[in-house]
Symmetry: C2
Subunit: 349 residues, 2 copies
DNA sequence: GTGAAAGCGCTAACAA
DNA sequence: TTGTTAGCGCTTTCAC
């Protein structure tokens, strides 16, 4: 067996198959799409030739002719963040099962990239677009972006994990209120009253909702809200680290900390450890996303899980249904669950 | 401002532009591709109309007609692994700069998926394929897969991060020998002699090469190789954890451990910590990949970095050059560097 | 049941 | 400089 680079291996087409089978291209197309009757005898013959050459129809041509590319474009904030990686992989699997392919683009924190990606996906004639994070996380939707998306939704359905006021995007969101409830009940059940919330920005919808719910739960339990216990910041290691340092340095030590995600939790763990406190004996740490980071740290993190498989399936389902003009709910919620690990325990004192 | 879903927003084409401008479609095409002369006056008029409708040419049609899709297909083992995520993002950026789009598929450990993805990418008429990990990591290439790929390379260039014997794939690899040298010099320089190598399988090329080099360096320094110090395993947290447990439980405590990647390093750190040893005072831990995991752990990990940006650029460059029939070296090496952090220190005793 | 022909939206060779 | 024409590879009427 010898595999040589057969230099100009002209791609085989439906016509080549047709000629060899002694039929017309239409007939070959019929057995390919399998949506018209072809005499069994011919059908078998054609199929054999197709198999023999391992022929696969050109998706571009197919897409051009029936104006369906069977591709779903996905714009993610950053797949290097395991949260997005999990969601993306879940979407990819769900899409594949439904016979669709996914095209991934990352905006990497450059919001202007999102517009460009939108444009590119449009050019590629994707059948639907799913946007994971980025501008759709904004509490107040960017006007410019809304305009761009609104323009697109006329032709291509767009599904987002957040929202985009003024557009007809479909929304599949994580139930942020419930996510906060899970953490708060867990902590309050362990006797915590001095609970800090570290990381996240209030101009991000999901964070804002968590914050609101945090206040509400405190209030429901007659625990007074302490301003200093909410440390706004970002969503990465560094901001978690700095946020926690700030708290401890100011001598306002909480007995429990809710991190906005696993990354910031890692920074928080570092800060606490550096200050000589133990987790969870002195301070409990809990977080959101339940990415593998939660299992890598010492101690392992109690974290809120989203059932990524279901999340991805809902996103893709919405995208495909919308693309195929079927009924799609404007908004769907994904219910989070709590995974308890080593980082949370009874309140100190 | 009111954005309504203008239900059947027929996609605008080059003909619509042409009609409105009172010219032929070819002329519009000319200003679009900008590779033929059009009288400035007309050109401006056409451009205005294009801008007015924010018209973007259909990439499918374009790809069909000039048989170049400007898409690079990427098959990754699993983007949830930050190593692949880093490489992918680097490829995506490099591709975008060169005017290409990338299509990502993950095989998620299911080798049969790789063949299917290959097929799918072929159907999408991608201009080139980049495969990151998976079967191209095998020390002995899978015969079946080799056949499939060899068939494809006739039409579509394939670039891999490993190798695929018997095919004409282009190879862009990390210099595994050098990567091991960096770690070994570092450790030996710190006085370590009892150095264990935990994780990885010898049927994976890069691991095999590291193993060989490990033996060589030991030999060069007249350090006797101890069989038990090489603990074969996988590439994740669990295998790192179990591998290290095995070492310690057998009372063959090394003074330094080389983890096959950051994931297994995390497991190793856990095992060491659980056994009551300190890092690096009792045991140093170093690893490969330098993903963000290395900075999240306590202690932070000394790890071998690959300069992902360059890695991605080389992969994409090779892919594009090959697609455009330019000269491409069959094999290229990426030179790793060492990032020293908290997890490594002078040998105990 | 099957083939001929038109068309999907674009580019490029050829005339004019 | 510009328009006409012929594809790119496939699907889908419309006749037969």
């Amino acid at each position: 067996m010898d595999f040589q680079k057969s230099s100009d291996n002209k791609r085989i087409t439906i016509y080549d198959i047709a000629k060899e089978a002694g039929v017309s291209a239409s007939t070959v197309s019929r057995v390919l799409t399998n949506n018209a009757n072809v005499r069994k005898e011919k059908k078998d013959k054609i199929q054999n030739i197709i198999d023999k050459y391992d022929f696969k129809p050109n998706a571009l041509a197919k897409g051009l002719s029936d104006t369906k590319s069977k591709i779903i474009g996905i714009i993610a904030a950053d797949v290097r963040n395991p949260y997005y990686a999990e969601v993306f992989v879940a979407c990819e699997s769900a899409a594949r099962e439904a016979g669709y392919t996914v095209l991934l683009c990352n905006s990497l924190g450059m919001v202007e990239q999102e517009s460009l990606h939108l444009q590119m996906l449009q050019q590629q004639s994707v059948d639907a677009i799913i946007q994971l994070g980025g501008r759709v996380d904004d509490l107040v939707s960017d006007k410019d972006y809304v305009g761009k998306v609104a323009r697109i939704t006329g032709t291509i359905p767009v599904v987002v994990t957040g929202k985009l006021d003024g557009t007809s995007c479909y929304r599949v969101q994580i139930d942020a209120k419930k996510a906060m409830d899970l953490l708060m009940s867990h902590l309050i059940g362990l006797g915590h009253k001095r609970i800090a919330l570290v990381g996240g920005r209030k101009n991000v919808t999901s964070t804002y909702e968590k914050y609101k719910q945090y206040l509400k739960v405190l209030h429901d339990h007659q625990i007074e809200f302490q301003e200093e216990f909410f440390v706004e910041g970002g969503y990465n290691y560094q901001t978690g680290y700095e946020g926690m340092n700030k708290l401890i340095d100011r001598h306002i030590k909480p007995t429990a900390v809710i991190a906005i995600n696993d990354f910031s939790a890692a920074g928080i763990v570092r800060s606490i450890t550096e200050h000589g406190y133990r987790i969870p004996q002195d301070i409990s740490v809990v977080s959101y996303d339940n990415t593998y980071i939660a299992t890598l740290l010492i101690p392992t993190l109690t974290s809120v899980d989203y059932d990524y498989k279901t999340f991805g399936r809902k996103l893709v389902q919405a995208a495909i249904n919308a693309a195929e003009d079927e009924e799609v709910p404007i908004q769907q919620l994904v219910t989070p669950t709590l995974v308890i690990r080593e980082s949370s325990g009874p309140a100190a004192d």
